[in-house]
Amino acid sequence: MELNTFSFMTQMAMLALALGIVHQPFGAYLARTFTSRRHLALERGLYRLSGVDPQADQHWKVYLRSLLAFSAVSILVVFLGQLLQGVLPLNQGHGAVDPWIAINTAVSFATNTNWQTYVPEATLGLGVQMLLLAVQNFLSAAVGLAVVVALVRGLVRSETSRIGNFWVDLARGAIRVLLPLSVVGAVVLILTGVVQNWGGTDIHTLAAHAAQTVPGGPVASQEAIKELGTNGGGYFNANSAHPLENPTAFSSLFEVFLLLLIPFTLPAMYGRMVGDRRQGHTVLTVMVAFWLASSTLMAWAVGAYARTGTGVGEGFEQRFGAAPSAIFATATTLTSTGAVNVAHDSLPPLAGGLAMLNMMLGEIAPGGVGSGLYGLLVLAIVAVFIGGLMVGRTPEFLGKKIGAGPMKLVAFYILTTPVLALAGTSLTVAIPSLSANAPAAGPHGFSEILYAFTSAANNNGSAFGGITTSGPPLAAMLALVMLLGRFVPIALVLALAGTLAGQRKVPDTAGTLATHGPLFATLLGGVSLLVAALTYFPALALGPAAEGILK
């Protein structure tokens, strides 16, 4: 199979065009949603039911406590639901889930990771899929949105430590943004041929006496939020490589559009909320530049490998060709989605390395729902710090001074994910019984382990495959890495929001480093790339680079 360059370029152009058209109006809608004072009747009902005061403006610590409590309850519910599957309705005959797998799955879905250490068809019934996992797809994405909105408020507000109301942000994100969009998305997906029914269809071919069951379920509805919320947990084990999850070339491209939609729209919301749209444009430019460069490199890596004679074949999307695989693989790792339409294990080494580097960037281009933008804004603060010193001023970001306080939070943020990914990887390779779970020989086996922990620490959820993570030690380690990789950064971001909100705004002058325009975009892109590259260079050299240059 060869990579069709023209097909690649056409599809990329279509994506860019579609995203280009919707991102401004949709960004304006998001900004209105999160700044409006009005509550919908449905929301008011929910607030009354749960005893939440929607008028309360929360201190960042209260906001964080609400978020953590909510997520803890989410994890517990999903965990218990799986343990009790056997006695709950709609189990389609599936019994209790193994507790290690259950906790891994519960953490995975509540952290927006959607790492799947289970085989859905063989493990979960309709009830768990629809009422637990799909619900988490909405809620974990809404949590991400809430955090980024809180951070933007921290930048906008001054001399307060209150950054909004978590419950209101959560409800609005889920009800006003994700719900309507996923309904539309699901309908489009049904039209492309994604199944939406109450279970498998038995087929008996009388002439041949053959009987088979075509699997089914509420797939389209789950597929839409799987992409929109950058979740990535497939209804079927094969994920978007399964013909019933992703039946046509169009559905494949549409799924990529859905998973890029909200992350690429958030900069427009950000620009509007801070009252300077140029800020949004600059952030968007950096995201788009990484996306285009990475997609192109991925296509090149796949195409070049395909021409070596070995060809790409096994694990690739045979129906559509290599181009949609390259586009999908890039988009899913640059966001925190992790849905796949190609087995990443089968990507040529350099392409696999690129998928890892995409995640190692911190998933900022455009990143997960909410998490992408807040990740990039944290890096923007690092860029502002270095750039600010270079122009001779105490660094300021949108009028907020970046002193030791904010820098500590930012430094910890940048430390967290690499430490989790590298520590997890090195621990696994150091213990033979653990590394035996990745039986592939040489650097490829190492890549599988590195990929797993990078994916978990960055809350991506895609897998290199090959590695078995359902055993208790790895399932627990990955769950822990996902948990810390999600909530430590969130806690730091909310603390940062509170610290920034407490400051008085410094007015802009000609001596202030502008955080918009091509110069800052270059600085931000450079800092983002350098931080990731320097941290992971040796690991990447031992994995994909060693393998790639070997072959």
Binding site: G387, G403, A404, I414, P507, G511, L530, A546
Partner: protein, 708 residues
């Protein structure tokens, strides 16, 4: 940085190896630990007779040199301050003070004073003086401690602290009443009330400052250290994680190599130079003859967004100057000039002198005042000088008959003064104010100038001859500096006691952004508060006691050394030259400090790219020959590659010490231009330079027998 002061700094650099000192810099402390580990490994390899020992020893030696170079940069910077401190300390030799005490019935020993009844003097050591003590200093005495002159006037040699050899006048009352301990009274006699206890005087603070004894980390330095510490942790984790990963791949490097990789990756360059940059920033300020009470103030200066500048002395010359004579109708301009000159002959004020200067080439002609007008010999003893007084607001001369300038028979009165005063003088003596003179007065006032009228009276009718235009003259170059400041994003506000019209005219001419007319000290304070409420940082200069609250409120307050001790106490900087325009330089020094830190940080981190390309192929190319492709520098061998990276990493510190001490070149340009330039030089340059440097070092290292 000469070889001599580098060598002089060596002992201090070695003393700084003390771990308790080193722990304050997380980056260099990590290098220290790494060096210790490598030393142990080398010793063990040597004992075991391992052939790897030679390489390990080479790396270990260069790691120790890295630590030493870091300390050396700090020691050199401190050494410069030490030299200054020593010369200052010479001025602080123990002084005997003549303390004035209430006289007792039986006067104690000590010189009986000619002070009059009620006081006696006793000799005490300068160090025993307490705040509030009264001491007497006469010609030849060293002033024992800081204080305010409460009686008398004296010329004082302050060269010990300011380096300026010309003596200055210190007198009781007014804004020139403070004296500094360690300065010498040259003439006359003053009585001083001590305001600083021994050990806390200006001189003591200055010594502590230049020695860096009280150096505290500034806010930006702390924030930078947070960033550097976090980068260090990332790389420690990265290298620690690499060990099991490399072992998994079957290519476990030795601990020495891992430490070498770690030291190359952590930002040692900036980590080593941060203290030197801070000390050098303070030092630059001292070279500009400005003393700061803390490094924090220097840093804040770079952030200043509003400058409050006194009009007089800063923007304009201290005094108004005559710029034009406007004659009344029918008056010969030369006559007006001659008369104006006569009227000011006895006027010793700068304004009066400027009138004489302006008139000299213009005077002559005939009229009531004729004759040769050439020199001060016209002030014959029989000429009656009429001094200016606040009541009459006029000054001038009464020329007797027979005086060369008086052709008449009676006394000729020549007057100049404020318009209203001269008009009423003329009217009382039968004169009137010509229409065109009235207009000229209004016009001059309208442009912010001061009109003075010139009148003569020879016994008949007084005549108003015309108007002298006095104007503030903006110092040359000020307009350009304000434009520079604007480009840097700094607002300038001119403060003056003048009325709005005068102030507006000067403000327009000088090109300041805003002005405050008829300003009282309270108004100054209000402007500072207003600017600060808007989130701006304000700097100002001042010298008077009534400036003290504003100096204290400003984010950067620079007091003139000639000012009162109250002003100096309230300010966070003191300008020894008493030059108010220096505030602008201070801002530049503050900015340069930050730019140097930022640029070297960028350079340091950008260097890592090349070091990876040197070390990673060296580590793993044996196991994965394909990774040899990453050896784009074509380094000789794995050992030489690693050693070259370590050597580059150490040498670059030494090479950058002069830059750290001198500061990165600073230009008054907008933030965008400054950033793009520095990014290009230190960012891109930081990526490229080590590729070249490591390659060259490798060529030399390859010649070492066991490594090459």
């Amino acid at each position: 940085m000469t070889l001599a002061n580098t060598l002089a700094a060596l002992p201090l650099a070695v003393r700084k190896l003390n771990p308790r000192t080193m722990v304050h810099s997380p980056v260099m402390f990590t290098v220290l630990i790494g060096s210790l580990v490598c030393t142990l490994v080398s010793v063990q390899q040597l004992a075991a007779g391992s052939p790897a020992a030679v390489f390990s020893i080479w790396v270990t030696v260069w790691l120790w040199l890295t630590v030493l170079f870091g300390n050396l940069s700090e020691a050199i910077a401190e050494g410069r301050g030490k030299a200054q401190a020593d010369s200052l300390r010479a001025a602080r030799t123990s002084v005997m003070a003549r303390r004035r005490v209430p006289a007792r019935v039986s006067a104690p020993s000590g010189a009986a004073s000619g002070l009059g009844a009620g006081f006696a003097e006793e000799l005490v050591a300068g160090t025993d003086l307490a705040v509030g003590d009264i001491v007497v200093c006469e010609a030849g005495d060293l002033v024992p401690s800081d204080g305010d002159v409460i009686e008398g006037l004296a010329s004082v040699d302050e060269s010990a602290i300011t380096g300026e050899s010309a003596p200055v006048i210190r007198e009781s009352g007014g804004d020139r009443s403070s004296v500094t301990g360690g300065t010498r009274v040259l003439s006359d006699r003053i009585v001083v009330r001590i305001t600083a206890a021994s050990g806390k005087t200006f001189l003591d603070r200055m010594i502590a400052l230049v020695e860096g004894a009280t150096r505290q980390r500034t806010p930006n330095e702390i924030a930078l250290n947070v960033l550097l510490a976090s980068l260090t942790i990332v790389f420690v984790v990265c290298v620690m994680a690499l060990a099991p990963m490399a072992q998994f791949a079957g290519a476990l490097p030795t601990p020495v190599v891992l430490v070498a990789l770690l030291v190359c990756l952590i930002p040692t360059t900036i980590g080593a130079l941060v203290p030197a940059i801070g000390i050098a920033g303070m030092d630059r300020l001292i070279q500009h003859n400005v003393l700061a009470t803390s490094g924090r103030a220097v840093e804040t200066a770079g952030d200043i967004t509003t400058l409050l500048l006194d009009k007089t002395g800063t923007i304009t010359y201290g005094n108004r100057r005559a710029v034009e004579f406007v004659p009344a109708d029918g008056v010969d301009p030369r006559v007006l000039a001659a008369t104006a000159r006569l009227s000011s002959l006895a006027d010793e004020t700068p304004e009066g002198r400027s009138i004489v200067e302006l008139a000299l080439p213009r005077a002559g002609g005939s009229g009531p005042v004729t004759g040769p007008v050439t020199g001060p010999e016209e002030l014959t003893p029989d000429v009656e000088v009429i001094e200016f007084s606040a009541a009459t607001r006029m000054s001038g001369l009464n020329l007797p008959s027979g005086h060369p300038a008086n052709p008449g028979t009676g006394v000729l009165e020549v007057r100049k003064g404020a318009a209203s005063a001269v008009v009423s003088y003329a009217k009382e003596r039968g004169g009137f104010e010509p229409q065109e003179v009235e207009e000229a007065v209004l016009e001059i006032s309208g442009t912010g100038g001061t009109p003075l009228l010139v009148a003569v009276f020879d016994g008949g009718r007084a005549r108003i001859l015309g108007t002298i235009h006095l104007a503030d003259v903006v110092k040359p170059g000020m307009t350009a500096r304000f434009a520079e400041l604007r480009a840097m994003g700094i607002r300038t506000i001119m403060i003056t006691g003048d009325n709005k019209i005068t102030a507006g005219a000067i403000a327009g001419e000088a090109g300041v952004d805003d002005f405050l007319a008829e300003a009282t000290p309270e108004d100054k304070l209000e402007v500072i508060r207003r600017e600060q409420r808007a989130g701006r940082l304000v700097a100002m200069t001042g010298d008077g006691t009534n400036d003290a609250p504003a100096l204290a409120a400003a984010d950067v307050g620079v007091a003139m050394n000639s000012g009162t001790s109250a002003a100096k106490e309230a300010a966070n900087m003191v300008d020894l030259d008493s030059d108010p325009t220096k505030l602008i330089d201070v801002v530049g020094i503050g900015k340069q400090l930050l730019i140097t830190r930022g640029s070297l940080t960028t350079f340091s981190v950008a260097n890592d790219v090349a070091k990876y390309f040197a070390i990673v192929p060296a580590l793993f190319a044996a196991t994965f020959p394909g990774l040899g492709l990453l050896n784009i520098m074509g380094l000789h061998s794995p050992e030489s590659a690693i050693l070259s990276a370590v050597i580059f990493n150490a040498i670059i510190i030494v090479l950058l010490v002069p830059l750290a001490l001198r500061g990165v070149k600073y230009r008054a340009v907008s933030a965008a231009r400054a950033l793009s330039r520095n990014l290009l030089v230190y960012g891109l340059g930081g990526v490229i330079a080590p590729f070249i440097g490591i390659k060259f070092i490798d060529l030399a290292v390859a010649l070492i027998p066991t490594i090459g």
